[in-house]
Symmetry: C2
Subunit: 201 residues, 2 copies
DNA sequence: CTTGCATTTTACCGAACGGTCAACTAGCAT
DNA sequence: ATGCTAGTTGACCGTTCGGTAAAATGCAAG
């Protein structure tokens, strides 16, 4: 089982950077198998379909983030609004380091996949939506604490959290269009100016 | 030349909704030719490559917007900040009507293509970037007029314009993940809360 | 009537696509 | 030693991919 798991994770490891740097449709299973040093028959022993592979890839990216930058950023020890600064910083430095290594801004894999596949595959769309929903919750909790501590005036934490997530994705999209992570540095901090007021009581 | 032009524009007309509703890689030239009632050889008489077709499609979408909603929204007769409201409204109603007809939120073709191809094709990326740059200019002029008329306090119009554009794209992305244009209605108006201050006199 | 050009048709190219299958290997428990 | 199973192999499926080339049209000017 150890070796078997190794094959499976080698496949995922080969698929991750490819899906991130190109697109779902543009990366073939053949190429992933070559990258992983695995035969196509083996691939289909572990993954019923290409979609199942990309789901595993999404999970790995999500875990990586949740246990990495996101865990650091949303540290309860930090003042609430500083956590948001931290997250923006982390996104900036991550994209920047990827560009240094890879030569290109790759952007957010979740955003990339969302725009590519969500009209064509509701299961993938649901999976990606779940990740955005979790991210939104992090923002929301943070905003609620910022309100509770009097750091910011009361607001609609749920909607503002969603707005902030949208802004982050949008900035990454625009930065990718410019192939320049510095846009994250310039535009990122403005995320804290976003506000949606509480409506009706 | 009339009939010839007709063939060319039939090809573009067949390609537009397909690229918009799916993706660049997922739409084949064969299918576009069938949709246009044209032979593949004819296609390559008018377009040297698939990339040239999608460039023409981008141009048509851009013109459509520039002469439609965008022209209406950025009407100099409107108070500056109301133009931004108008644009958000237009995006909302457009996405909503598409969903009613098509059954799905398709989002912004420029954002869709940007995330799909901009790591793989610098010519397409440049084309899409040019469109975003034009859009940013519209926002910037509007903000400058809002500042000049005293509607809003002074700010960095260029950066705030870029932030607003990013936010709009991000909201559309998130709405597409939810397949629900109503998110545009809820989050859209907060675009006016975005502010990036002037740095260093 | 003919030359020339733009357009269209049809057949075709090699490569890649996602996915399947049967045969084979290795390890382990009975 | 035997049988079972997880894993692996490599050949193969039909289809589609973007793109090409040559021959056939239609049409307009000389």
């Amino acid at each position: 089982m150890n070796i078997a798991t190794d094959t499976r994770s080698r496949i995922i490891a080969a698929a991750k950077p490819r899906f991130h740097s190109r697109s779902y449709a543009n990366v073939g299973i053949q190429e992933i198998c070559e990258g992983a040093g695995v035969q196509k028959g083996s691939f289909y022993h572990f993954f019923p379909s290409k979609r199942d592979l990309v789901m595993a890839v999404i999970d790995e990216f999500a875990d990586e983030w949740a246990n990495g930058f996101v865990a650091e950023a949303f540290d309860p020890a930090l003042p609430p609004m500083e956590r948001i600064d931290y997250l923006i910083d982390a996104a900036y430095f991550w994209q920047k380091s990827i560009k240094q290594v890879h030569g290109r801004m790759l952007g957010c894999i979740f955003g990339n996949l969302t725009l590519e596949v969500s009209t064509q595959d509701d299961i993938l769309r649901a999976k990606l939506l779940a990740i955005f929903t979790r991210a939104k919750s992090r923002f929301k909790e943070t905003l609620e604490q910022a309100v509770a501590t009097g750091t910011i005036p009361p607001l609609d934490a749920g909607l503002t959290a969603e707005a902030m997530l949208a802004y982050l994705e949008g900035v990454i999209l625009l930065a990718k269009a410019q192939n320049d992570p510095e846009l994250l540095y310039r535009l990122g901090p403005a995320i804290k100016t976003l506000r949606i007021e509480l409506s009706g009581g």
